[in-house]
């Protein structure tokens, strides 16, 4: 039983490490790419026909993602 848990934990650690490495190896996005992604995010939020408050919140998330993209790529 202990061996199974240990193997599972090892698996989780390896997958997490792989994901972190992939994310850090990704080239930073340019400002233009950030802007294009933001524009697409906005249009997708508006196209959902969600209610006003929901749309506002989705657009706020698009803005937050845009800010993060500009800051961290």
């Amino acid at each position: 039983m202990k061996q199974v848990v240990a193997l599972l934990l090892l698996g989780v650690v390896l997958v997490t490490a792989a994901l972190v490495l992939v994310a850090s190896a990704r080239p930073p996005r340019s400002v233009t790419q950030c802007y294009n992604d933001w524009e697409t995010c906005r249009e997708e939020a508006l196209a959902r026909d969600a209610s006003v408050i929901q749309t506002t919140l989705m657009l706020t998330l698009c803005d937050v993602s845009f800010g993060r993209c500009i800051l961290y790529g």
């Binding site: 209610s51 749309t55 506002t56």
Partner: protein
């Protein structure tokens, strides 16, 4: 002034405010002629060609109906009875492919489509093959063909861009002809993005009409040459949706919804009014207000459920329901 005179004065003021505010509108609204729309296309729940993954635009023109599905990156075409005729597009960046299309209109010899993420306007022939296209330097939020040789493209600048315009007219080679309507640029990116959402409608004469969904303004009119022909404001009984809600300490959302969607046909505007959702938010509704060029409300059409998009022909209304199905509706007096 004695007490009796003061009380009479207060009563008069209260009556005056009652007449001049919403209560009077409600009385007028209840007296408007009402019609009921019923389904003509009775197989809407089973016709798989009339079910969509994420429909974002519906338009009727030249005797055909088009529905844009952003998820499938395709445009489906139907006859006036709602019978499927064909489909154009498919996800991609190549010829005849679309990526996040935002709007489409049937034109005499095919379709014209705003291909959002690919930032271009594409024309398809009657068999669904790409005929030609031109590139844009912005994401086309909506389009409207004007006459035979030009197209109006809507842009939503959002982030404080005061130089661009919301309406931009091009010839079919992509050469700019005119532009109009400065965008909202308050500096609040979310509020500006919502304020610049525009719904486009057109008349066979080449005249175009623009309605801002989230601005309590009227219907803006433009000639095919871009001349501003003024604004049509619906009568006081028209229900503009308003919401104000505090979602966190110090953060209040305040918005107006002029209409959820709109259509034009034969001298009449059809405005789909917003409605309250169960949780008090504002969303799509089930009442369509038919309005003439003088702004007078001619009738209120009750739809058979909540709809997100509408289109109109001389005889029918078309709508997309909350389950993303196409509905073909017949309007009858109540």
């Amino acid at each position: 002034m004695n007490s009796a005179t003061r009380q009479t004065g207060l009563l008069f003021l209260w009556l005056l405010s009652f007449i001049l505010t919403g209560d009077a509108c409600d009385v007028a609204r209840s007296e408007l002629p009402r019609s009921r729309a019923t389904d003509l296309k009775t197989d809407f729940a089973t016709d798989e060609n009339a079910m969509f993954a994420r429909p974002v635009h519906l338009a009727f023109q030249n005797g055909r109906l088009s529905v844009v599905d952003a998820e499938e990156a395709s445009v489906s075409v139907f006859d006036p009875e709602g019978r499927f005729m064909g489909r154009a597009g498919g996800k991609g960046q190549g010829p005849g492919q679309l990526d996040l299309p935002t709007a489409a209109w049937p034109v005499a010899d095919g379709l014209i489509v705003s291909d959002g993420r690919n930032r271009r306007i594409v024309r398809f022939d009657a068999r669904g093959r790409e005929r030609d296209s031109f590139r844009l330097n912005f994401f086309p939020a909506a389009i409207l063909p004007l006459a035979v040789d030009r197209v109006l493209v809507a842009r939503n600048p959002g982030g404080g861009d005061k130089k661009g315009r919301v309406l931009n007219c091009y010839d079919l080679r992509g050469r700019p002809l005119w532009s109009a309507l400065p965008p909202a640029a308050s500096g609040d990116r979310v509020a500006d993005t919502m304020s610049n959402v525009v719904i486009l409608m057109g008349a066979p004469s080449g005249e175009s009409f623009a309605v801002f969904r989230y601005r309590a303004e009227g219907i803006r009119r433009f000639s095919a040459a871009g001349r501003d022909l003024g604004e049509i404001r619906p009568g006081r009984a028209y229900p503009v949706g308003r919401i104000r809600r505090t979602i966190a300490p110090g953060k209040t959302i305040q918005a107006e919804v002029f209409c959820w969607h709109a259509a034009y046909s034969e001298g009449r505007f059809y405005l789909l009014a917003a409605a309250r959702t169960e949780d008090g938010d504002l969303g799509p509704g089930s009442d369509v207000y038919a309005i003439g060029f003088d702004g007078r409300i001619q009738e209120v059409i009750e739809l058979p459920g909540t709809m997100t998009k509408i289109a109109a022909s001389a005889e029918r209304l078309y709508a997309l329901d909350l389950d993303y199905r196409l509905r073909v509706l017949k309007v009858e007096k109540k």
